[in-house]
């Protein structure tokens, strides 16, 4: 489904965010991506999303080499991937409902179906009572859940979640992770970058650990610490 072969990413100023990463993630897997701050987790996810290109090496998603992908095909790649961004990236002038609906409008969804699906997903993340608020009017946790709803709404085959529980208390975080697990059970490939030790430890899924951009551990049923 997703595979990195000898991927290195060097940002401007010579910052090496990823070093020679080779890893393979199969369809239907659930992967935790952990590591200290600045270790390259977000960079890892952005490569899959073709937001950035690797400096060396190649990234394959659903059989396609992203480096060879044409500019015009990128939107179609992205529609197969749900992304919960670490900084949410909600459209500032659309309210919660519209932000979530936008993801469906982009793929040309029928208006009636759109409404039903948006309402349903907002219910699932627990934001129905805030659907008319604009992002700046939301609390940190609510923003995070709105971003989550947008990623879930079109039921993509791949879900990338970057620190989806950083602004949530334990219970709310559990709720969000449950949604990801549920999607995973329906066959979605899920990758979650997180610092949340409790959740990683309690789920016992595959754990990939980055440190200074290098892959230092890849356990089938791992925990947060060795």
């Amino acid at each position: 489904m997703i595979s990195f072969s000898a991927v290195t990413k060097v940002y401007p100023h010579g910052i090496v965010a990823l070093r020679d990463i080779t890893v393979n993630i199969e369809k239907g897997e659930f992967v935790f991506l952990i590591g200290p701050t600045g270790s390259g987790k977000t960079t890892f996810l952005r490569l899959i999303y073709r937001e950035i290109k690797p400096t060396r090496g190649s990234v394959y998603v659903m059989g396609e080499n992203l480096a060879k992908m044409k500019e015009k095909e990128i939107p179609y790649l992205r529609r197969k991937i749900g992304f919960v961004f670490q900084d949410f990236k909600l459209l500032p002038y659309k309210n919660v409902y519209e932000n979530v609906a936008f993801a469906l409008e982009v793929i040309g969804c029928d208006p009636d179906e759109k409404e039903a699906r948006v309402e349903e997903v907002l219910e699932r993340v627990g934001l129905s009572h805030r659907k008319h608020l604009l992002p700046y009017q939301l609390s940190g946790g609510e923003r995070q859940r709105a971003a989550m709803a947008r990623a879930l709404v079109y039921d993509p085959p791949i879900l990338l979640a970057d620190e989806p529980t950083g602004n949530l208390d334990f219970e709310a975080a559990r709720g969000i992770i449950d949604l990801l697990v549920e999607a995973n059970l329906r066959g979605t490939t899920v990758i979650v970058a997180t610092h949340n030790r409790d959740i990683v430890n309690s789920l016992r899924k595959r754990v990939i650990v980055l440190r200074d951009g290098a892959l230092v551990r890849d356990d089938k049923e791992g925990g947060y610490d060795v």
Binding site: E51, P75, L77, F85, L91, P92, Y93, E105, V106, R150
Partner: protein, 295 residues
């Protein structure tokens, strides 16, 4: 169909969300188009006025010998059939002498003279300054002609002034047009540029370029269109007022009253607004879309 509705509603929402900015740019577009329109109207009227001036150019055809009334009538018809001639008037030698006496202020001139020294004359007026030379050339070819007197210099000056107005006006008009285009274009681009973050996010969510572009194009068209309509209205109204004032205060200044011409001019201004709004919206987003995501 559904999509079109969606794009238009997005465009309207966008304009409303950034209403301060929308208002500022509509005002800017309106002003620029209005000024362009005022210039076009002044230009049209100046040309019209200069053409009217041509009518004051006079050609005097001095006749040989003593033509009979039949000769005069025949000549009169020939003159009127010449290309560019507007009107002709016959002045007999007797009438000419009376006029001269009056001009000199000596009614006794006729008594002082043994015989009338003046010839018979046709006074001819042309439609345009550029017709003078051709008419004079024809007249000179006739056997009845003794001499053709005309303001050669005046005709040439008038022609030169017309040419000057056409070229000068053309250059000035082009500068103004290009400026108007650029200013409106820049305004639409500023509006779009202020929303680069939104565009960035849309791209991230998987929107195609056209999906992002369309609402912006509609916004541009609406901005340009509203500015254009306002300019159209303001031009029609203020031209009416200006004509009213002019014709009461300066009745001798010739102005265009034909409304068809005016509506055509103002329509062009409106169309311009729409087109540049469209172009501005299209290219402004283009630039932002072209950029690779920030790394």
């Amino acid at each position: 169909m559904y999509k079109l509705k969606y794009f238009i509603s997005e465009a309207l929402k966008g304009l409303w969300r950034h209403r301060v900015m929308s208002l500022l740019s509509i005002i800017t577009i309106f002003l620029v188009l209005f000024i362009l329109g005022v210039f076009l109207m002044i230009g049209a009227n100046v040309r019209f006025a200069v053409e009217s001036l041509s009518e004051s150019l006079e050609i005097r055809l001095v006749l040989k010998g003593n033509p009979t009334p039949q000769d005069v009538q025949r000549l009169y018809n020939s003159i009127l059939s010449l290309n560019g001639v507007k009107e002709a008037r016959f002045i007999s030698r007797g009438e000419g002498l009376r006029n001269l006496a009056k001009e000199l202020g000596r009614e006794d001139l006729l008594g002082l003279l043994k015989t009338n020294p003046l010839p018979d004359v046709f006074e001819i007026r042309v439609k345009r300054a550029s017709d003078v030379e051709a008419v004079v050339r024809s007249l000179k070819g006739w056997s009845e002609t003794q001499e053709v007197i005309y303001g050669k210099e005046a005709a040439q000056k008038l022609l030169a002034i017309q040419r000057f107005l056409i070229y000068g006006g053309g250059i000035l008009g082009s500068i103004l047009l290009v400026s108007a285009l650029l200013v409106i274009f820049n305004t639409v681009r500023l509006v779009v540029y202020a929303r680069r973050e939104e565009i960035e996010i849309m791209k991230l969510v998987g929107a195609t370029h056209w999906f992002i572009r369309f609402p912006f194009i509609f916004e541009g068209v609406i901005l340009g269109g509203v500015g254009g309509v306002l300019a159209f209205g303001a031009l029609i109204l203020s031209y009416g007022e200006a004509v009213k004032v002019l014709s009461s205060q300066f009745p001798f200044i010739p102005v265009i009253l034909e409304t068809a011409v005016l509506y055509k001019l103002c329509g062009a201004v409106l169309l311009l607004g729409l087109l540049i709004g469209f172009g501005g919206g299209l290219f402004a987003v283009q630039r932002l879309l072209g950029k690779v995501a920030m790394e």
